[in-house]
């Protein structure tokens, strides 16, 4: 039966596992079966580094078998439902419902409907309260878990922080409890002692008449009132796999991924990742070069990429990049560089690794004027961009990509015009070069603008998001004013960002919107061709919940935020100060230049102690 189905769907290899380096264990020989679920299609999930790390981390335990599950594409889902095939794990093909743990990674808010859909396909009740002793424990982690509330009635327990820290303790407790005949309830009680674990049912929320939160309190004396994220202190000692799953079909990123460090020193005020992963913790160059060797040897990949939030900030970057080039130049292994600050060194490096093909140059000024760049603390100036472009043009690069956001706090039409002026200035910079000295193809500048989404745990967590109509007006304004034929403008449909804005800062009641939208057919929302905006609009109507309340309302500093019981180690005071500095257009230097006393030093490691 399965064969017949697999031959009827697109890319059947999405559902068969069997990749290079897949872990094979006998399920009957382990105590704990863990289904690692990525709520998106195979090719997206398999390109995710966190999956690769946790897969091998959990599987290094003899008592645990971690298998993978991805969201079946709609053609497969249809066949599965038609033939009553429940959601299954790739390694063994066994139904997910039989597992001890079903773990979701929350990478983006617009994957939440896929979580609901996967639970439903698995035959597991959607709401936590409806599950029985026979259902798996639903656990979730990842960046969106820092505001767990929109999924608090769906997920049984959240893991706040980096997986390497507490999973062993949690699984040990689970195994002991299972052996001693304990119930799930017993396990939850014991798990309250594990650092970084948040179990929503042990907390009650009360609301004010205006819909804001009145109180948020534990209802179990063992439940901590604040759950603090757990992070790896020393990255050199942290577990990192020496191999990687190598897919049988092409995925988004088909290469070996080397994680250089965690965190980011920059402190861009819109960027949640920049705060939640603080402090910066680097791996040593020696360790990275060794890991690179293992990964290349054990995977057969022909490309290696360096991954981190702002890889160019790695202190050993030059040494690392040159080390890799020296090692692999003759070995037909290409090195994929992250976007770097453009200077003589980085251009030379790009020249070396790119050999012949000159791909585009990328800049992310994020905002069009210096004033607004100061507001968002994006430490890049127009002068730097133009100088970088000139250097690059001289080297033969002629395609420039610029990334901006619209709808940033304090933004005016003048800032939007800044986007146009900056792109024009780059084109003019190219034409400054005498005709006979110009290299490569004619200049082309591609401007992309995303819609700003205020996120929890950023200084902008209190600000109002632009409405769909406002976003559209802003995009039209930019589009209208871009007149040079060398400049191309791309922009996203704002509907998706607007919904993301609702879910990102949602509270416990928001789950009803997600489930209702799913009932109305929403899934794979981040896939343009499958996005059903109408289902979401209807979901707000049906649940009576207001999107303006969540997305477009300015919050006051003393309002209890839905995520206030989670601590990322950075004080609210710091975020308030940053917000005030933003309003005043004052910048905050990066962590290496000057400590801003955000609070992350309390983790006792990383950049705070360099």
């Amino acid at each position: 039966m399965l064969k017949e189905i697999l031959l009827q769907v697109e890319k059947p290899a999405r559902y068969i596992g069997n990749e290079i380096n897949m872990v094979v264990k006998k399920p009957e020989k382990v105590d704990i079966r863990f289904a690692f679920c990525f709520p998106d299609v195979y090719e997206v999930g398999m390109s995710h580094l966190g999956l690769q790390i946790l897969y091998y981390f959990l599987n290094r335990r003899d008592d645990t078998y971690c298998e993978r599950v991805f969201a079946p594409w709609f053609d497969m889902e249809e066949k599965m439902r038609e033939n009553n095939i429940p959601l299954f794990a790739l390694e063994t093909g066994d139904a997910v419902k039989k597992f001890d743990f079903v773990g979701f990674t929350l990478q983006y808010e617009m994957s939440y409907t896929n979580i609901i859909n996967m639970l439903d396909l698995a035959g597991i009740p959607i709401w936590s309260k409806d599950r029985s002793e026979n259902d798996p424990i639903i656990i979730a982690g990842g960046p969106c878990a820092y505001n767990p509330e929109p999924l608090a009635d769906i997920i049984d327990m959240f893991y706040i922080g980096e997986g390497e820290v507490s999973y062993d303790e949690l699984l040990d407790i689970y195994r002991e409890n299972k052996k001693n005949g304990g119930t799930k309830e017993d396990f939850y009680e014991k798990a309250l002692a594990v650092k970084g674990i948040y179990i929503p049912k042990f907390y009650d929320v009360e609301y004010n008449d205006d819909g804001t939160i009145k109180s948020f309190k534990p209802n179990n004396e063992k439940a901590p009132s604040v759950i603090r994220k757990v992070i790896v202190k020393d990255m050199d000692k942290a577990f990192y796999p020496d191999k990687q799953l190598v897919p049988l079909i092409e995925t988004v990123h088909d290469r070996v991924t080397l994680e250089v460090f965690r965190g980011c020193i920059r402190g861009c005020r819109f960027c949640q990742a920049g705060y939640v992963y603080r402090p910066v913790r680097e791996k040593s160059t020696d360790r990275l070069l060794k890991l690179a060797d293992f990964l290349i040897e054990n995977s057969g990949h022909e490309e290696i990429s360096l991954t981190s939030l702002s890889t160019g900030d790695y202190r050993g970057f030059k040494e690392l990049a040159e080390g890799l080039i020296e090692k692999y130049a003759d070995n037909k292994i290409s090195i994929s560089l992250p976007s770097l600050r453009i200077d003589a060194f980085s251009l030379d490096l790009m020249e070396k690794v790119q050999a012949v093909r000159k791909s585009g140059l990328t800049f992310a000024p994020e905002a069009g004027t210096q004033r607004l760049r100061d507001v968002i603390n994006k430490g890049i100036t127009e002068d730097e961009i133009l100088k970088g472009c000139r250097l690059a043009f001289d080297g033969g690069w002629t395609r420039v990509k610029l990334y901006f956001m619209v709808g940033l706090p304090t933004e005016t039409d003048e800032d939007l015009m800044g986007i146009v002026h900056l792109s024009d200035a780059i084109v003019e910079k190219f034409f400054e070069i005498p005709k006979e000295e110009r290299k490569g193809r004619p200049i082309s500048v591609t401007v992309s603008s995303a819609c700003f989404v205020p996120k929890p745990f950023t200084p902008f967590q209190w600000t109002a998001q632009s409405t769909v109509e406002e976003f559209m007006r802003k995009q039209r304004y930019v589009k209208h004013n871009i007149t040079r034929k060398q400049v191309k403008y791309n922009y996203h449909e704002p509907e998706l960002s607007s919904l993301e804005g609702v879910l990102a800062r949602g509270d416990r009641r928001s789950a009803r919107i997600i489930v209702r939208a799913w009932e109305l057919g929403a899934k794979f929302d981040s896939w343009n061709e499958l996005f059903k905006y109408d289902a979401w609009v209807q979901a707000f109507k049906d649940t009576g919940l207001s999107r303006e309340f969540y997305a477009n309302r300015e919050r006051s500093y003393d309002e209890i935020l839905p995520w206030d019981h989670i601590s990322i180690g950075i004080s609210k005071r710091f975020f308030i100060d940053e917000m005030e500095k933003a309003k005043a257009g004052q910048i905050t230097p990066n962590c290496r230049r000057q400590c801003a006393h955000c609070g992350a030093a309390s983790f006792g490691g990383g950049v705070c102690f360099e």
């Binding site: 017949e4 031959l7 290899a13 069997n18 990749e19 290079i20 079909i249 092409e250 054990n298 057969g300």
Partner: protein, 229 residues
């Protein structure tokens, strides 16, 4: 000067691996070769690629028992060593069965392949299929409309069929046929089956049919010789 040594590999592709298509298979083999640390030769030019030649792609969904690929190594290696190095790195469902060293000037497997055995398990039992097959074999020509490169074309497939044997002893009908495979003449088994089904007044559904490709042959002076001797 090219001092590469050419080896011919025979391998099987079964189980879960039938769900990857030819291009993915190529990439998978490239990675396995790299992982097995074989001294693989590379082409010259801006985008060097491994010197690997498949005899003929195996379509997604079909199993193969004797698939052939030629590879070029820059240093000589013992054939069994190559086989073991690859097999210890291959996923379940693909295994190298045989490795032989070739003369560098031997025709590549892709140019040499001419015929293949196919073992086909049909979706049900057709009691009088032998009669249909007999009538097929008695025909002098069988003209079929094929769309090739977006153009409808009439092709005579009769010369591409050497024999079709019927095994009707089991619960479902099984066929074993030897048909033209390769650049000089190619008949896809599903095209043949569709034709046979149409003669029987039945609808053919490839997803309900198991197809295993067996030995691949080259033709020397009218005689069929297995590609991997």
């Amino acid at each position: 000067m090219n001092n590469n040594i050419k080896y011919r590999l025979e391998f099987s592709k079964t189980d879960r691996m039938i769900y990857i298509g030819h291009l993915d298979m190529l990439k998978f083999l490239q990675r396995t070769i790299k992982k097995a640390k074989l001294p693989i030769g590379y082409s010259w030019g801006y985008n060097p690629h491994q010197l690997i030649t498949f005899a003929v792609p195996l379509p997604l969904g079909m199993s193969g028992a004797g698939e052939i690929v030629d590879i070029q190594l820059t240093h000589p290696m013992d054939c069994n060593e190559i086989k073991d190095a690859l097999n210890s790195n291959l996923s379940q469902g693909i295994s190298v069965l045989k490795v032989v060293e070739m003369d560098f000037h031997d025709t590549s497997c892709a140019a040499a392949v001419a015929w293949a055995d196919y073992y086909i398990t049909l979706n049900k039992k057709f009691d009088d299929i032998q009669g249909t097959i007999n009538s097929v074999m008695e025909k002098k020509e069988i003209n079929i409309e094929r769309v090739i490169k977006k153009k409808a074309k009439t092709v005579d497939i009769r010369p591409f069929i050497r024999y079709i044997e019927v095994d009707n002893d089991g619960e479902v009908t099984e066929l074993c046929c030897n048909i033209a495979t390769g650049s000089q003449g190619n008949l896809k088994p599903d095209v043949l089956l569709e034709y046979i089904y149409s003669l029987m007044g039945e609808d053919f559904d490839i997803t309900k049919t198991d197809i295993l490709r067996g030995t691949l042959y080259t033709q020397e002076k009218g005689v069929l010789v297995p590609l991997c001797p």
